[in-house]
Subunit: 317 residues, 2 copies
Amino acid sequence: MSEPSPTPSFRERAAAVMMALQDEICGGLIALERDAGGDGAVREDAWERPGGGGGRSRVFADGVVLEKAGVNVSVVHGELSEAFARQLPGDGRQFFATGTSLVLHPQNPHAPTVHANFRYLEHGERRWFGGGADLTPSYLYDDDSAHFHATWQAFCAAHPDLDDWPRWRDECDRYFYLPHRGERRGVGGIFFDDLTVDGDPAKAERLLAAVQAAGAAFLAAYLPIVTRRKDTAFTADERAWQELRRGRYVEFNLVYDRGTVFGLKTDGRVESILMSMPPRARWAYMAEPPEGTPEARLLAALREPPPAAAAGDRGGR
Amino acid sequence: MSEPSPTPSFRERAAAVMMALQDEICGGLIALERDAGGDGAVREDAWERPGGGGGRSRVFADGVVLEKAGVNVSVVHGELSEAFARQLPGDGRQFFATGTSLVLHPQNPHAPTVHANFRYLEHGERRWFGGGADLTPSYLYDDDSAHFHATWQAFCAAHPDLDDWPRWRDECDRYFYLPHRGERRGVGGIFFDDLTVDGDPAKAERLLAAVQAAGAAFLAAYLPIVTRRKDTAFTADERAWQELRRGRYVEFNLVYDRGTVFGLKTDGRVESILMSMPPRARWAYMAEPPEGTPEARLLAALREPPPAAAAGDRGGR
């Protein structure tokens, strides 16, 4: 960390924004649980990273609405491994990173899983922001997808450095993709990576303000959806289908997700990294749903090939 | 494939041995199911690999004893990708591979999951065998582990090129290890990789005979264990523990297992590669069993650090 000073440093302010984001989002989720008759209990663990810094994990388990949910914040710094340093933009091995990430797995198969992540990184002289949010339904509701996308579209439009929504939407569709299945992970959202702020303090301030605003955007994007789906009647077969789809979520996170793989192969706090895992998952051999079913309709949507990448995309971290 | 000839080539004989191994093991599993009152139904799919060759997958689903089990044989050849070719011993891009692999997930939480794999590969001028078998219990039964190890010890002793059982046992413990959890996947077995037969046709014949004998060894190693555990009474909590442990199995296979990762990232038949996935898995945050329980006893055994590697180990394949 930088020296203590009367005026907080950018790092300190970025970390404070990430903590506030966690507070704001957890506040919204506690209210969601309580409105549904739950106790809104959250388990909190503060943890330290041996190499420098630490974090605060908050977990909802067996809630009325949320079957398993984790909202994590971390503020870490120190020295990257040689190998990891080479994969990150920037020079040398010193780094600083702060971010908030969450994955919410609701109980009801008609209510989608959601993920969001916002982060600020420094590596050597390089400084950048990244983030995004994406929705993973087991059953396709076009109005849910439309609402989720519209909310992030408005968010992007409100922040000059993000004001290219089709680009972030397409990057999201390319990133959350399982090539071995030929399936998208879900119906998308936004994903932006490596938004550099080198030598541009005004841009850094604008992006920090965008992250600060992302809490409200996230709650606006997700709460109406989960609220209208949480009490939908469902069958045991629909629950089984949800568990099969959650198997795909596991496949994506363990095989492709950069944050998860790097976290596991480096020094991350395993229980916080794997907070993203679903409560239950299922695998069955050749489990192809019959044509004309809602399950087949979801799969057909997920099997739309993602948009072609612009040259040089999918790099960075 | 080589030219057809009146005398079968080594490749053809190796492929025939792998197919016979699948037949023999499936025969044992069908008998296991029928003895327990099941119908022993097996689904078989023959498949072709677009780049050359193909295979035959056999799957048991929702059996009386076996909740989900797959026994796969493949005989494939063609051209490796540049990247994959560099990771394999041998030169050039032409390859031939035939192998049998299986993972059996029984219903009863007291009956262990088991995995085995035997393979013969050619890459350029290089030719080698590999294989192994390992046991993954959710509850520790020392007599099961002892029986499993003793069977493979005898198997190794009976085959001159494998007659160094402590080495293959240790390699197994090192390979089936989850560094991010600090846990072994299970209680081990044997694992041998890259047993080259270059310029040594007699050794090739001996190893082919060993693989031929591996079917009987596998059945002798596993059937007595599953037979004595399949009817053990169990609770819902024990079932949940089994599902948590199966989550670890998923983590190992998707993050570390070379065959799975290469298969997914190259051109493999996904449904056959992921036959190894458990029927159900579960993840819970910070799910540490209370001290003094059978669950804690298993974890303590799995947390024994694996034996130190001999110089140059863990390479190959």
